[in-house]
């Protein structure tokens, strides 16, 4: 409940290995573009929320460094963390401030500079992001390993194959090939994916999102201000959040992504949407595809497919444009890249631009319902956010 909240400006850096910029310069690329789109100056905002997971990059109090570089030191600011869902958490924080009447204009910037550390150290740090003592210290589980545990159980139970997983990668690279901001703006073949080396059997290199540097930003506004700033605001219709255990061993069967399911149910409940067949309400979706199996689990958790049937959607190409529901038209985390703190904000940027019909030809969804779904997981379901965006002002608030 509270006041309606809209996004009035978006900014997005080129994702990739960005050794040409430091973290503040990288964030600035997205911040200045978002301010420019919103037709404001950064000094006009009431608050800033920074999404940055950090650890692999050198600046500890990154949010302060970004504000100083952008010339807006003194603004209220804090950094939020929800692992890979950090960006979605930052948007939730900004949303709540505006909905509650605490602020009218908030800048959200998500940024991650992961390549400041060598790859084996990044692998180490992400692996530690489960339950440190019982799973990493003693058993050295890696991040692909966590999702591989889901993949093994899922494939064994439902008959999905490594080809099915690779079909997700092929689809998302196809979309990324039309997105110049993507880390890998190029298509891949099923064979290339199948022939890539295992990182955590049964997951291969091409089943995995890359280690990416990137930034994304949005300017969010209250209803009155949004109407002054733009003719085409994109509204936040609903946000559903959930969490799950840090120890994977405390989850029951590895067939259902519990936190995602719960977050979707909570987001949909506010809108009166049934989980089963939920895709009918959306023009497109972004789901968390840090690994290909994650996208398949997300189809089922979001209600796009029944339990055990998610892989059939990608096998039948139902998540390309023209299918049941197009998914990850920006290339997803898999091919657009996954700069942890920026990912959720990058999804927001994509949703605003898609709904407004201004993304590159070939990956533009047909906008008929004016509503879209973004699903962002932190950890392997440690956190989950489902955010619904829409062109119409939300009716229920």
């Amino acid at each position: 409940m509270g006041r309606p909240v809209a996004i009035v400006g978006t900014g997005h850096s080129k994702f990739g290995v960005r050794n040409d910029v430091n973290i503040a310069e990288l964030a600035w690329e997205a911040m200045r573009e978002a301010a420019s789109e919103a037709g404001i100056e950064l000094k006009d905002v009431d608050q800033v929320v920074v999404g940055n997971a950090g650890g692999w990059s050198s600046e500890y109090l990154s949010s302060i460094v970004l504000l100083e570089y952008a010339g807006i030191s003194g603004k209220p600011v804090y950094r939020v963390e929800a692992a890979c869902a950090t960006g979605s958490a930052a948007i939730k924080a900004a949303h709540d401030a505006i909905a509650a009447g605490e602020a009218d204009l908030v800048l959200v910037v998500g940024v991650e500079k992961m390549n400041e550390s060598p790859t084996p150290i990044v692998v180490e740090m992400i692996g530690r992001a489960g339950n440190y003592f019982w799973e990493f210290e003693n058993f050295g589980l890696t991040f692909p390993g966590y999702y591989a545990l889901y993949a093994t159980a899922y494939m064994s139970e439902f008959g999905a194959t490594e080809e099915d997983l690779c079909r997700v990668a092929v689809k998302n690279h196809h979309h990324a090939s039309m997105n110049p901001k993507a880390h890998f703006p190029r298509a891949i073949t099923l064979e290339q994916c199948l022939q890539s080396r295992y990182v955590a059997w049964p997951l291969k290199l091409y089943d995995s999102s890359p280690i990416t540097d990137g930034a994304a930003a949005v300017v969010m506004a209250s209803e009155d201000l949004a109407k002054k700033l733009t003719d085409s605001p994109v509204w936040i219709h609903s946000i559903g959040m959930a969490s799950d255990t840090s120890n994977l061993s405390k989850r029951p069967d590895f067939l259902v992504h519990r936190a995602s399911r719960l977050a979707a149910e909570r987001a949909f409940k506010k809108l009166g949407i049934e989980l089963e067949g939920s895709y009918k309400h959306f023009d497109f979706a972004n789901v968390h595809d840090a690994f290909t199996i994650a996208e398949i689990l997300a189809y089922e958790a979001m209600g796009f497919a029944r339990l055990g049937e998610g892989y059939k959607l990608v096998r039948e190409e139902q998540t390309y444009i023209g299918g049941l529901i197009p998914v990850n038209l920006d290339g997803g985390l898999k091919a657009k890249g996954h700069p942890i703190g920026a990912t959720g904000v990058s999804m927001a940027v994509e949703h605003v631009r898609q709904l407004q019909g201004r993304v590159e030809k070939g990956r533009q969804a047909e906008i008929k319902r004016g509503r879209s779904l973004a699903h962002n997981v932190g950890g392997t379901g440690h956190y989950a956010f489902v955010t619904v965006y829409g062109l119409d002002k939300p009716r229920r608030y």
Binding site: N19, P118, A153, P252
Partner: protein
């Protein structure tokens, strides 16, 4: 990794000698990067005081969990507080050793601090309703499958040389 970092460091030293600054040039793009002169090595000291009994158990060849006296709920990893019955205490119990493998993976790309190990198998087995255990799985991963019988054993982790527990496949009876 160490070799790679040694090369980077040698290059930075060379740059310091020649130009007076620890600047690296990115091999792919040629952009300039400062080579951090301050290395931070992290190693944590984690309290196990409240669950000391678990580690004593390992030295006796036992794998212990806690059980809430009031609700009967078993906690593994062990914890000394019952969130469902805050006034209750926990008692130490041995966990069942026989389990069913729920899932597993082979860690091919290893974290830096596990790089001295050959590829290892991590699995989760179920020993009772609501009681799953994550551990390394011994044996050939090609012969493992979801649903197979496995048994927990206390083992010494080499080369680090400390006690831990591991899943061992049990031969299926005809």
């Amino acid at each position: 990794m160490d070799e790679f970092m040694a090369q980077v460091e040698a290059f930075a030293e060379e740059m310091k000698r020649s130009m007076g600054l620890p600047i690296l040039l990115d091999q792919k793009t040629g952009v300039a990067m400062w080579f951090d002169q301050r290395e931070l090595r992290l190693r944590f000291a984690i309290s196990i005081e409240k669950i000391r009994r678990f580690f004593e158990g390992l030295t006796e060849g036992k794998i212990l969990a806690t059980r809430c006296v009031k609700t009967g709920k078993i906690y593994f990893p062990p914890q000394v507080d019952c969130p469902d019955a805050p006034d209750s205490e926990v008692e130490w119990v041995e966990i069942p050793r026989e389990g069913v493998l729920l899932t597993f993976t082979v860690i091919n790309t290893k974290p830096y601090t596990f790089s001295h190990y050959p590829d290892y198998v991590v699995g989760i087995g179920k020993v009772a309703e609501d009681l799953n255990i994550l551990a390394w799985v011994r044996g050939d991963p090609a012969k493992l499958r979801r649903g197979m019988k496995v048994r927990l054993e206390v083992v010494k982790r080499e080369p680090e040389g400390y006690l831990t527990y591991e899943w061992v496949p049990v031969e299926e009876q005809g």
